[in-house]
Symmetry: C2
DNA sequence: CGATAATCAATTATCGATAATCAGTGAGGA
DNA sequence: TCCTCACTGATTATCGATAATTGATTATCG
């Protein structure tokens, strides 16, 4: 589900700051090892220290920064490596999700087909962000179909896109290839052979692990008030 | 909270509160679904709202509570379901870890053999705690051998599920069976066939998911965390 | 000269107060 | 009667200010 721009319940300040920082970190605007000073950030965003602090705590939970009590919080080194590692972990989770969903016969084939179509449309429009969004939805369908709440929680925890408004987009990838990859994966899932589908689900993720990525997404600057 | 005579605020207030709350939650002093009101907690601990809030954020990261923005935070109702679910997630991670470790040739066979022996000794002594510890170590070896920091972090994050909802040890499980299971798994890993080993790693965990568990959901004493 | 203590500036951790928002309740109107 | 909506009490989100701690710098002394 995408967020409705209409009646935006005006997200919490901390959330906005968090998303902004996520974007800045994964896009490399703030360097690994760099210190994030609460008071300075507060000044930058035009807020008080509290929401900034809260945002930093969430970043820590996302493993984007690490905090040493009373000493400050720093952008973790090796963010890019972690991003790459996350594909492997996601692969593990999604392979299992695929297995569970197939065994339970709960794969939402129609919905997934629709996402593939969305990807196709995005590819033709050259809209890489839309493609990425559709991809996330595609994979989320599988994870949800497994009907394992903890699995889903764990998966979401790895998915920066799932938790923020930031989108990671693989650069140098033909959007049409993405469509094809997902179509093939879906075909394997529909094909009915459990092991083949699972392997495909895994390989699908592993494949992307080595590609370079870019961050996109709106990150509002200072607050309105 | 009681003022410790030692003048050293060894830890941050937020940390102390967090730890206290963890204890109360896993010990069942606060019920699943129960609401945790920041102001009330602050009063209880004799602090202001800030450190409580921060503690709650960390609990959220631990999946012990869930927060709905502007509505409050509630103790996550982790029924027995969560424990069972955790086995599946663990299976996913460990299967992948096995694959990675085998591909990299980094499996610490000796250390794992030692853990199996520890289990054997524990079995003969009827010490289920020791058996459980050895088992965790055994599996941790594999996860670490994968050399994927995120995978390890994710895996470690699962331990809390095991610790919290149930006394971990399935009822009616013969400690000698545990020894045998692990020995077989290790043999498969040493055997060299990738897919066999991976499948075994997965089944090993899935197996436990199907066992009946003691559901009293309480640890004997939450202290000495 | 080198080590230690005293001092200082920067920053985090915490506080107490206030604004914003939510859930519940009862009055008024179709 | 049922529904809408303003009102109220409770609670979260945010603020601005202060206490406490850190790391660096300088002064002191052997």
């Amino acid at each position: 589900m995408t967020e409705e721009p209409s009646k935006l319940p005006r997200l919490t300040l901390a959330r906005q700051i968090r998303d902004s920082l996520v974007g800045r970190i994964v896009s490399g605007q703030v360097r690994p090892g760099e210190r994030l000073v609460e008071t300075r950030l507060a000044a930058t965003y035009g807020t008080s220290q509290a929401p900034v602090r809260e945002a930093l705590r969430e970043l820590e939970a996302m493993r984007l920064v690490e905090t040493q009590p009373r000493r400050g919080t720093f952008v973790r080194p090796f963010i890019q490596e972690t991003l790459r590692e996350s594909y492997v972990v996601r692969a593990a989770l999604e392979e299992s999700a695929t297995r569970l969903a197939l065994l339970a016969g709960t794969v939402p084939v129609e919905a997934m087909r629709a996402e593939v179509e969305a990807m196709r449309a995005a590819a033709q429009a050259g809209d890489s962000e839309a493609s990425a969004r559709a991809s996330v939805s595609f994979h989320r369908h599988i994870v949800e179909a497994a009907h394992n709440e903890l699995l889903k929680l764990t998966w979401e925890g790895l998915q920066i896109e799932a938790r923020t408004s930031v989108t990671m987009v693989a650069t140098e990838v033909d959007l049409h290839d993405i469509v094809r990859d997902h179509a093939e994966l879906l075909a394997a899932i529909e094909g009915g052979d459990l092991e083949t589908a699972c392997r495909q689900a895994r390989d699908h993720q592993w494949h992307y692990a080595d590609l370079p990525h870019d961050a996109h997404g709106r990150m509002r600057d200072s607050a309105t008030g």
